[in-house]
């Protein structure tokens, strides 16, 4: 009991030094008033000393009527640290684009000061507001306070996870569709799937406005919706010239980095072979005043990314090379539901949709979700000759000579 009693945190104190803002300072800022935060500090100091975490495997806890949104967490030293004996996390669905007013932040602060540790993550890796640690009996009151303030829980467990997106058209000139609107719409449309797990495993949506993918959707979302365009890059010749006059080495820095070498600089004008442009964004990134995505905008839909457990990490792969993104987003939703149907029926327990697609084979998967195979879906055709032809001729079909 010495540990939790003495109150000293010599190891953690070391982490208050240095120029980067310190999470220890954050915890301390509420530890005086908040016993949970105080206990967390003590327990963490102990972990630092012993080089091991002190949390047990989570149990299933939650709010009434929801199957997710709360991560149950218990200390393995409940007697010594009773204030963090339970220390459950609430995942609160962030507003699309992580926009806040000062008032909305204060509302969150107030309710979490009252009901929990006073500690948050702004934000979790999936995108949620993470309310970090409270006891089981506070879950329902916190939920009530949240919903009264206009917030709701995000996802956890085998369900749709909280969709997230880049800032998109709210501030970015490159956004090829309205990522915030789509994210919000999907979130609202799939509230049931988000709150009541019934899938084989989790399913994440992430919406990026252009191929720069500022929300890492291609690496972290079961469905990655990445803005793109299909006409010509828009060129402002005067602005190109201004960059050149300004000393930019267009030949080396722009053309030299084009993946398909489809952009040329004759020393005066830029010349783009748009047929071979793969919309990588590089030239646009480097000359934002001069170049911009075409006018015929939409998105590429890719499927399947995930972390390595179990079959190895996956980067999403192309399902629809180009689609217009317009409310009410019927096509995307129908496609999603077809995928869920097949996954629900054939996915193994804890099998992500990207793993399922690989297990059954992209060709079969496409048949099930009723998409035609097209070469845009693959990096290259098969190299091995092990083709499963599905039919063969029988003798009686044809007369032998």
């Amino acid at each position: 009991m010495a540990d939790s009693g003495n109150g000293k945190t010599p190891l953690l104190d070391e982490l208050e030094k240095g120029p980067w803002p310190s999470f220890v300072t954050q915890i301390k800022s509420v530890a005086e008033k908040n016993p949970r935060a105080r206990a967390l500090l003590q327990l963490l100091e102990r972990s630092y000393r012993e080089k091991i975490g002190h949390w047990k495997h989570g149990g299933i806890v939650g709010v009434f009527g929801y199957g997710g949104g709360v991560i149950g967490r218990y200390s393995d030293l409940p007697e010594e640290y009773p204030d963090v004996a339970h220390f459950h996390t609430l995942r609160v669905n962030q507003p699309s684009g992580w926009f806040y007013t000062s008032d909305s932040l204060r509302t969150l602060a107030d309710l979490w000061e009252e009901h929990g540790s006073g500690l948050t993550n702004m934000h979790g890796s999936t995108g949620d507001i993470i309310l970090l640690g409270t006891s089981t009996d506070e879950l329902e009151p916190t939920f009530e306070a949240l919903t009264n303030a206009g917030f709701d829980l995000g996802g956890s467990g085998s369900c749709v996870r909280t969709p997230s997106c880049c800032i998109g058209q709210a501030r970015c000139e490159w956004a090829c569709y309205d990522t915030l609107a789509l994210t919000h719409d999907l979130t609202m449309a799939f509230q049931d799937e988000l709150h009541r797990p019934f899938f084989p495993y989790k399913f994440k949506f992430k919406c990026a406005g252009c191929p720069n993918d500022c929300v890492a959707s291609i690496a972290r979302a079961d469905m990655s919706i990445i803005g793109t365009w299909r006409d010509d890059i828009q060129v402002d010749k005067a602005a190109v010239k201004a960059y050149a006059d300004d000393g930019m080495n267009i030949e080396r820095d722009v053309c030299g980095n084009c993946p398909t070498k489809c952009i040329q600089w004759a020393g005066k004008e830029i010349d783009i072979d748009n047929e071979n442009c793969v919309k990588c964004m590089h030239c646009i990134n480097v000359m934002p005043k001069a170049l911009s995505p075409g006018k015929d905008r939409g998105a590429t839909i890719l499927l399947g990314s995930k972390a390595p457990i179990l079959e190895g990490a996956i980067i999403s792969s192309v399902l629809i090379p180009f689609i217009k993104i317009e409310p009410p987003y019927t096509e995307i939703k129908e496609l999603t539901e077809k995928i869920w149907d097949f996954w629900g029926e054939h996915g193994k327990n804890r099998e992500r949709v990207g793993e399922l697609m690989q297990r059954v084979g992209l060709g079969n998967f496409l048949e099930e979700i009723e998409l035609e195979p097209i070469p845009e879906m693959i990096a290259h055709p098969r190299e091995n000759p092990y083709i499963f032809f599905e039919e063969y001729f029988e003798e009686d079909e044809e007369e032998g000579e």
Partner: protein, 360 residues
């Protein structure tokens, strides 16, 4: 859905429009271009000619309600209460009045919030829970992030680098932080097979599920002290902890053996080269809290090699593409070992299957 009467459910998040500054609502979808005015400061110019100034400040991500209020206060003072967070957990203040930029920066700095991370820079480290909240953690997250960012803060604050460099940290192989596609990834790893709590296992876990959970087939049924349980063929364990995820009686956490590995060269954007996974640079560094000096040093070393040798716009992986892996190991002084050689499912595809080699 059977629910309590007045209880609100499934209301979803607040609508983003309610939380946006008027200038954004007005110019939504009509931005023309942007410029980086100085470290941490962007201006976005709309077709209307309106200008939106963004000041980006680093954040520890683990934020207390006290500091949320501090953010709110700053937002009120400098930008009518409007702010946002980024996908890498930085805070962005959204200003319309250019003259307020410098005062805001000054106040942010005095509160201990560095301003930067914009454009070609090292931004905040995407990370996870660690010992703060997760049962699975092979290391802490926040402490390492703090130590590494302390060391690299100049690169956040404006010191020149060739291009973007994205660092991420995950405290176990579940990789909640999308470590797998980062320029530099710091990954907590276990190195000792699960220790089985035979007395409890068959009470809390389904033995067939436990056996099925192991990707290498290392787990077999066994009877120990008359209890049905499982045993692990230690040679076949590669410490993925999937068994532990499925069964609490098989913890891998171990103070002597847990530690970190470092991965390099992943990326997410489609700019120039395609998205790709990070590859192993350093297989193991022991946990050394509170400041993990070996990890800090290892990351700095890799960063400095990149800063010194990469060409403009070259992300870490693109840089290594150009110089080749042998030279990467030479320049960084990292020792190459058996652990670097893939031996999982696609291993054969990682062997060097050409005579295109640098010999000098």
């Amino acid at each position: 859905m059977a629910e309590a009467k007045e209880r609100k459910t499934d209301i979803g998040p607040p609508h983003y429009e309610k939380l946006m500054p008027p200038i954004i609502k007005k110019n939504y979808g009509k931005w023309k271009y942007h410029e980086r005015l100085k470290p941490g400061v962007l201006v976005h110019v709309a077709e209307s000619g309106d200008k939106l100034f963004t000041v980006r400040a680093g954040s520890p991500r683990l934020v207390s309600v006290e500091y949320l209020r501090k953010y709110a206060e700053l937002a009120d003072k400098y930008c009518d209460g409007y702010l946002r967070f980024t996908s890498r957990n930085n805070v962005e203040f959204l200003l319309t009045d250019e003259s307020k930029i410098d005062p805001l920066i000054k106040e942010l700095k005095s509160e201990g919030f560095p301003v930067g991370g914009v454009g070609a820079a090292i931004s905040n480290i995407v990370h996870t829970q660690g010992w703060v909240h997760c049962h699975s953690a092979a290391t802490d997250a926040s402490g390492i992030v703090k130590s590494v960012m302390d060391d690299l803060h100049e690169y956040f604050a404006g010191k020149e680098v060739p291009g973007k460099l994205r660092i991420a940290l995950a405290c176990c192989l579940n990789m909640c932080g999308a470590v797998h596609c980062s320029d530099i990834a710091i990954l907590g790893i276990h190195r000792r097979p699960p220790r089985i709590d035979h007395s409890n296992l068959n009470k809390v876990c389904e033995i067939p599920n436990v056996i099925a959970s192991c990707p290498t087939g290392a787990i077999r049924p066994a009877t120990v002290d008359g209890q049905s349980s499982v045993e692990v063929e230690e040679d076949r364990c590669m410490f993925c902890a999937n068994c532990y995820t499925v069964c609490p009686s098989m913890p891998l956490n171990d103070p002597l053996n847990d530690g970190l590995s470092i991965w390099v060269g992943g990326k997410v954007s489609n700019a120039r080269s395609e998205p790709r996974f990070s590859k192993l640079a350093i297989p193991y560094i022991p946990n050394n809290p509170p400041r993990w000096p070996e990890v800090v040093e290892a990351v700095r070393n890799i960063v400095e090699v990149w800063v010194k040798h990469a060409r403009k716009y070259e992300r870490m992986g693109e840089f290594i593409d150009r110089i080749g892996w042998p030279r990467f190991f030479k320049l960084t002084g990292i020792e190459f070992s058996k652990e670097h050689i893939d031996d999982y499912k696609y291993a054969g595809l990682t062997y060097k299957r050409s005579a295109q080699l640098r010999h000098s």
